[in-house]
């Protein structure tokens, strides 16, 4: 199996702990969303997977082989970072050519086609690109690399709505054509929610959630009604948050609604609604919230 496995990964930056005893498996041919608040350790985790940095403790494998300094394994992963690591004086088409040298499956025709779609001039130098086009250039390189695993850290930085939509479409089309493991790390959760199959949420240097999006969405629901009724209902239940508006209250719960609870809701006149991934993420990672009480899945 072409899984990426992290085993008891701990990473310290001097005295600061970025990740503590993290164990995770990224299974092949799945689209993952790696979510977390600023400083949660998302980029650290991705950097560790791709050997940009090394763990203080633990190890990482790809297809059960240690990934550390292993060029044959590293070639199977393409990591698009937020920072620009390409020579500023290099033209985009030159970067394509060099990437083709290191990624033998790089599709130059596809890269040029994407340049046309995104309206990117491949004769421009990296330093001449705006923030948005810099991101576009890196996205094109990542998509055209045809690596077995694509990792995107903040892939929509500086992109306008049109380009963001185009990227999501291309990514999905690319995935349908050649299924592969894709990890998307972004703060714009609402937009990518429909793309994701699986979600990993980091917080407090640990994995808070590691679950399929469908299962998570089934577990999460919101109820609204009179404050006293909602408060009574959430007693002894896994409520993530309570929001008050006058006499009314909204609670978000993270547990599979049972027949009994549905009946009780009806009796109390409470309304049930679905919760979006972004809203759920906010409640889960809210500092001072109750996210640490939620049992880990997976």
């Amino acid at each position: 199996m072409n899984n990426i496995e992290l085993k008891n990964i701990t990473k310290y930056y001097n005295a600061n702990c970025a990740l503590q005893e993290v164990s995770l498996i990224f299974e092949e041919k799945r689209i993952y969303g790696l979510l977390g608040r600023n400083g949660a350790g998302k980029t650290t985790l991705l950097n560790l997977i791709t050997n940009r940095i090394f763990p203080t403790k633990g190890y990482i494998t790809l297809s059960d082989l240690p990934i550390r300094e292993n060029d044959a394994l590293l070639e199977r992963i393409f990591y698009m970072t937020e920072s620009n690591l390409y020579p500023e004086s290099m033209k985009i088409h030159e970067v394509f050519r060099w990437t083709q040298t290191f990624y033998s499956n790089f599709d130059l025709t596809y890269a040029n086609r994407l340049c046309e779609k995104f309206d990117l001039n491949p004769n421009k130098k990296f330093k001449a690109l705006s923030t948005g086009y810099n991101t576009i250039a890196k996205l094109i390189i990542a998509l055209a690399s045809n690596a077995e695993m694509l990792i995107f850290d903040e892939p929509i930085l500086g992109l306008d709505a049109h380009h963001r939509t185009l990227f999501y479409k291309e990514l999905l089309a690319h995935y349908i054509k050649t299924p592969k493991t894709i990890i998307l790390s972004t703060h714009i959760i609402e937009e990518i929610a429909d793309l994701l199959e699986w979600v990993v949420i980091l917080g407090n240097q640990k994995v808070l959630i590691n679950e399929s999006v469908a299962s998570l969405m089934n577990r999460a629901y919101a109820i609204t009604g009179k404050s006293s009724d909602v408060e009574a209902f959430v007693q002894n239940r896994k409520a993530l948050d309570l929001e008050y508006l006058g006499n009314y209250c909204k609670a978000i719960l993270l547990e599979e609604p049972t027949e009994d609870s549905l009946k009780l809701m009806k009796q109390m006149g409470l309304e049930q609604a679905k919760v979006g991934l972004q809203e759920l993420f906010i409640k889960l990672t809210n500092v001072g919230g109750v996210h640490h009480e939620i049992s880990k899945v997976g």
Binding site: N47, T50, N51, R52, I53, F54, E69, N70, D71, L74, E75, I77, F78, Y79, T81, S83, N84, L85, Y86, P87, W98, T99, T101, F102, Y103
Partner: protein
Amino acid sequence: MKSLKLAKFHIRMMLPSTMIYYMIFIMVISFLAVSNSNSGQNSSSSGLEFSTVVFLFIMGLNAFKENFNFSQANNLSRKAFFSGLLLAILPIAFLMSIIDLVINRIYNIFVPSPTNYDMIYGTFRDTGMFDWNTMEYVWKQSNTFFTLSSTVIWQFAAYVLFFALGVVITMVYFRSNNLVKVIVSVAPIALLVLLRNLVGFLPKTWLLSFGAFIDTIFGWQTRNPYMAVLTFFILSLFLAGCFYLLLRKAEARE
């Protein structure tokens, strides 16, 4: 395999600055040659290829960050980067050594110009450039196969060493925090001052032994350039080792 591809990339990145360097170098010495033949004065120059040493040292200082970032963007291991850079400098240094030799031999037709090799291991040491009694040039450049090949190898070894020195210095700065950067910057000067003051207190036999050691490792007395070549290679290997140790946990930075 990855190392070879990376070496190609390193060479591609070094090529433009090398070409500009030679363009300027050739322009300057052409100007000197023309002005010498027009003035009718007895002028000479020596050790011009030292400028290549300086150039390669500076190129070493600049060979790390951008190329390392690019290798990281392509998910290449540090091992591949290390061997790629070493594989890149070998042909570049060798080619530059040959180019310098050719330039020197052509330039020498117009202006007497001994190379560093000629001055250290050749007859220049015995005759000097000019006989002030007869007012004639007495130094004749040797063009034997041994001299030509030894000059190329000796220069090549020196070029590799200075390039490696540049890379290691830039790596030390890259990996250090501000305090260590200050210490590293001040340490060589402090060491020189300390040695200068210590020399008077050291036993004379120590100094003589040290002198003899230096003499031997650079083949001065025996006029054996290959002792120096060996020394240059050992020092280059030591620097390459330092480079690898510093590179092992280096992280890409924008």
